[in-house]
Symmetry: C2
Subunit: 336 residues, 2 copies
């Protein structure tokens, strides 16, 4: 293990996973954390189940095509609750402001949070503000925490994937990462790329109504689809095999990735989900996803297998097979 | 209103209150936020009441006499839940790490969080880590969010103070602020000053058992006792009158304040509470506080009055009366 924190420790890949596995999980040890789900499910008195999740947002720039740090922080947290099948109810927001931040920009971002919260049907019920000196922050960091309720009968978790499951993806990959990067680096593409940032609780509700035995859900954010599939494969102790040609990638994202030497499977998304669904419910699940505005381009991209547990393989367009590794570290820092 | 964020916007005084009142509360508008309590109380299905609170911690230095940013983040959040009478159950923690942070220091701080959580009987059930470039952070920021349960029958809120209430303070003021400042500035005092950082849920439980009709609780952190009393006076629409001579201040804190020109009433605390208790339960409440290890120096420092609503007055040791103003802004930045 390194002696000091590097940017790669935050990039959603293997270095981050190692940091979490070595420094955080064993020290703060409890069964909720060990589950490594997008949200922790805890038992409330009276037998109800709550889901709790938290995320710090450090995206740069603060405003990007398709969203800003405010809408992103609400969407990300709502979506993390949805990934364990929870109905999002309450959010909290803590702000770390850098001395010198324009208050008009702060207003704009808080308005954007309010709109995102209204759109997702959640209330931001508690908050905190801190200010740090110029050069000790980057305009604005927001940490949102969400609390939701898991309806009775819903059992979705990253460890429940099972051989035979069909792997569904709700739409094209890489939009968020490339949109943020293009704004940051001043890259211009013929087609404007927008972040796919969106709250996925409605899409999940639709999916679970059609496929109530859905095993596992994950939103492929930092580290992209590659990281999400590897995490689910590891948690569930199963192998995953996907058909690379079936993964939707927008032409502009593909062009940007070719230019920059990125693998679209490792670029961040914000409004997409991957689902492991039992084969007998897969057709209904895919139809339900496609009927929802946030899942119109959904595709069945592969299957879960008992072979090569913990490993993700991709059939390449030219007929070969390659290992889809957990990304090591830094690809695009400060993407969320 | 200013056009850019200044350090004073984070100092717990009037400038912070104005920022929250103008930018955050009306935009994110809902009845939970408007209450301006230390924790929001929300209704869970089945009639139970949950409390939710969040706090970003940006204290500098990261380790100080009596604690570190890790223990502080757990204690502060547990205490905020206790301020609405809630039993703390689950915490989340989001870390913003600066590139270059020593991983051994991170380990030490996470261990300290784990110990504090065990001590307070709460589990840290979800987390997140982000990394920002050198010069975009300050080693480590931690945002903790807490969820607790409010037992049936408990009705404590910042708006419930009532004329005739006795104002109780659980111990000496200014210890945390002066301890952090002394480490930061390399000041040496004859007696070592330690932060009073502590989780106050046990003290509150003891208090509420003895004085179940306690009206209001607040922990006087940023802005000190002066800010806490002003906030309660405003929320409850009552006046407060205290006897300055009855407010416990350690000799070393008093000496430091005299040297630096600070009013001890405006210096931050982390393990103290102020309570508005109906007169008929005040003696029992004070005895209960004093019988608890964290309230041995508790004192009755004043009373709530229908006169001068929203205003805090202090009788001075020489017999005069002065207005205890809400501090304007920056006294000690980055104190929590």
């Amino acid at each position: 293990m390194e002696k000091t924190i590097r940017m790669s420790h935050g990039a959603g890949g293997r270095m981050m996973a190692d940091l979490i596995a070595e420094v955080f999980v064993p020290t703060l040890d409890n069964r909720y954390l060990r589950e490594m789900a997008d949200a922790a499910r805890v038992e409330a008195s009276g037998g109800g189940r709550l889901a709790v999740t938290t995320d710090a947002f450090v995206v740069q720039p603060l405003v990007f095509p398709g969203g800003d740090i405010g809408s992103l922080s609400v969407h990300g947290t709502v979506t993390d609750l949805a990934m364990v099948g929870a109905r999002p109810l309450w959010l909290t927001a803590a702000f770390i402001l850098e001395e010198g931040l324009e208050i008009d920009l702060l207003r704009q971002i808080v308005r954007s949070m309010a709109e995102a919260a209204r759109g997702a049907g959640v209330a931001i019920v508690a908050g905190d503000t801190k200010v740090v000196e110029r050069g000790r922050g980057d305009g604005l960091y927001i940490t949102t925490t969400g609390v939701g309720v898991v309806p009775p009968g819903i059992e979705v978790g990253p460890d429940r994937g099972s051989p035979g499951d069909v792997v569904l993806l709700s739409g094209s990959v890489g939009d968020h990462g490339i949109a943020v990067l293009s704004r940051r680096e001043g890259l211009a593409f013929e087609t404007e790329l927008r972040s796919d940032s969106a709250p996925l609780h409605g899409l999940v509700e639709t999916l679970l109504a059609a496929a109530p035995h859905t095993h596992a859900l994950r939103d492929p954010t930092r580290g992209g689809l590659a990281a999400a599939l590897n995490e689910l494969a590891l948690s569930s102790g199963v192998g995953v095999e996907i058909d690379e040609a079936k993964v939707p990638v927008r032409p502009a994202v593909r062009a940007a990735c070719e230019m920059l030497g990125f693998d679209p499977l490792t670029v961040a998304n914000e409004g997409k989900l991957v689902a492991f669904v039992p084969a007998e419910e897969a057709d209904a699940a895919l139809a339900a996803l496609r009927a929802h505005p946030l899942g119109q381009e959904a595709a069945a991209i592969g299957f879960v297998t008992a072979d090569h547990p913990g490993m993700v393989l991709a059939r390449t367009p030219i007929g070969g097979r390659r290992i889809v590794d957990m990304p090591l570290g830094e690809l695009l820092p400060r993407i969320c």
